[in-house]
Symmetry: none
């Protein structure tokens, strides 16, 4: 499914508002006004508010496929490097698509939007499988410990990043970074997060000190 310019514009506006106010807290009127289009256009282009939500997922999920898979299969990288790359990949994705990931969390939180939950679950399962294979590879090579609880490990990755994203303004304040530019702060946050999570994973996965 391809989206034209106007559709993308609507989707991005909706994404921002859904992230900010929640699905039920956002009216189609709000979206239409912010996007500078007629209310009827939303039904016209997407059929319904629900379908618009699905379109957001189609646009965002579609783009994140493929990249990770190919890198994982790269035989020239060590399992440790691959894990680190995966961590950076995830941090980057979340920080760059914050609106979308806030919606993602919000969807998992409630028992509404069942068709969307399915999509979110698929992503989760795919991620678990990729990581699972990667861990096994490292275990075979003797660089990773046995008995890794993959889900909890992934929860630490996803949870830490989500929580940091959600409360990043608090982080900024706590660390006296209010006068730093948005961009510089984002860069700093990414670096800090990357180091933090990589050291966690090192502790989980390897026997090294």
């Amino acid at each position: 499914m391809e989206f034209n310019d106007k559709q993308v514009q609507i989707i991005e506006t909706a994404e921002r508002l859904f992230a900010d106010r929640g699905f039920d807290g956002t009216s189609v009127r709000d979206i239409a006004e912010e996007a500078g289009i007629n209310i009827a256009m939303i039904s016209y282009y997407f059929g319904s508010k629900e379908k618009l939500m699905e379109a957001i997922f189609e646009l965002r999920v579609g783009s994140l496929q493929g990249r990770v898979e190919t890198l994982i299969k790269d035989t020239s990288m060590s399992p440790v490097d691959k894990v680190n790359m995966l961590i950076d990949e995830h941090i980057d994705r979340v920080l760059q698509k914050q609106f979308f990931y806030r919606i993602m969390v919000s969807v998992q939180l409630t028992n509404k939007n069942p068709s969307i939950i399915k999509v979110a679950n698929k992503i989760k399962i795919r991620n678990a499988e990729i990581v699972s294979e990667l861990i096994k590879e490292g275990q075979k090579k003797g660089v990773f410990k046995k008995n890794i609880d993959i889900i909890l490990m992934l929860n630490t990755l996803v949870g830490t990043v989500s929580q940091t994203m959600m409360s990043k303004e608090y982080y900024r304040e706590f660390n006296n970074l209010l006068e730093t530019s948005d961009e510089a702060f984002q860069t700093l946050l990414r670096r800090k997060l990357s180091i933090h999570i990589k050291s966690l994973f090192k502790a989980i996965l390897t026997n090294d000190k």
Copy 2:
């Protein structure tokens, strides 16, 4: 502020529904029907839907005060034991009050309910301060490393637990625990989470292998 039986009943129903369907996804009519009370009762007792939300926080936040503070001041415990206790305390709280913590995440996610966000921020600040003191104490005693990023560390605690709570059914399925009783699964999950996060904190805080 004290709540009578009927008010508590309404609060608990609202808490469950807000957690399940979100604040805007739940109507006062839904709450009234589920709680078996008249619709007008909610405005009558709480003034508004918004105020009912605040009442939920009042009830839940009020109860979690004090306990941690006193334990922290206990001089007979080592900093490591205190941190571990804090972790267990948090896990228990979240797992026992899942509805409330889902609302908590949901509130932080959106920019609505500003008065509630304030309450949530207060809790966060208080927690950071407590942990901050605890860390300094450990650093003084030489058992904790220097240069600890407290916020990221707390984000790992809170994020991992939240993420695990939110996707616990997936954890259950992935680990073939669908036939285990709810209670047994909950106990197992708590133990696994506790071990997992404690080992993470050990890696973050100490120089031990």
Copy 3:
């Protein structure tokens, strides 16, 4: 199901408007305005526009039960008298409840309002059964012919009355009765219709000249 005064008022307004403009040609706003009530009252009292339509049937159909049945069982009347009474009964009902009977025709015309069609069909079946028994009784007594096509006979009764009701203004004009009072015209029409249909039925049912 009993209806309170306000409900009856809404039902009667809706009945008139549905008869005049059709179900889809009448908006709930129209009904609310004509009835002098708030729009939300319709959903409040009946649940939906569709359910309001059902309420009309409940009110009108409920009242027409019983009367005919008891008279039919009267052993002191001859079959011919019973048939004549049935004809008059039907004419009176239709002329007195013209709005309702126009809705009735309208419902049978389209394939919408399936739940209402069921009710209309039930009435039709009940009527056919009553008449069927009555005819058999007359045939046993030798006053009615054999091989009566009951349905076509009923269609003539129902169809003639409906058609006359629908085009009564044309009848009035054609017969130069525009200056007659509404009441007098109605009385005249009823008498004419009664004589007309009774003579038709006599021709269908009996061997008399």
Copy 4:
């Protein structure tokens, strides 16, 4: 006014849908989809939905003119034969153009579509005039009774046929004809109706037994 192929196609689709769902129950979008044409075509070809309705009448009413008039003037036929022919003519027309006649009834039922009501009234008046002349001719020749209520007689014709058409599936079921083919059933129904109404008219018009 002539219609091109595409216009006829739209008219016929609209006719079917208006008959099935009513004028207000049918959207131009429905018509466009069923007819496989662009939505804008309806406004483009007919100006509006209302005008499309008028086009239906133009197409159907136009075709039924002339035939009856010439036959009526035929001096070689007896008044009785002419009446019988008229009855058959009407039955055939209605059964063959059921969609159109359902719309016809529907239009008379409501006070909407005033321009269409005019057309329907014209037809009615013309019919009454034709029959009126015919009756007078028969009365002059002494084969018809005096004091015939022409309108009621016509109402019996039109009403019986309409009612039968509208509830023909019920007739089918009642007479155990569900397994008869559509065509055979239609033929049977026409014959039965013809006999039924002719005998009614005979009773109304003549002094014969």
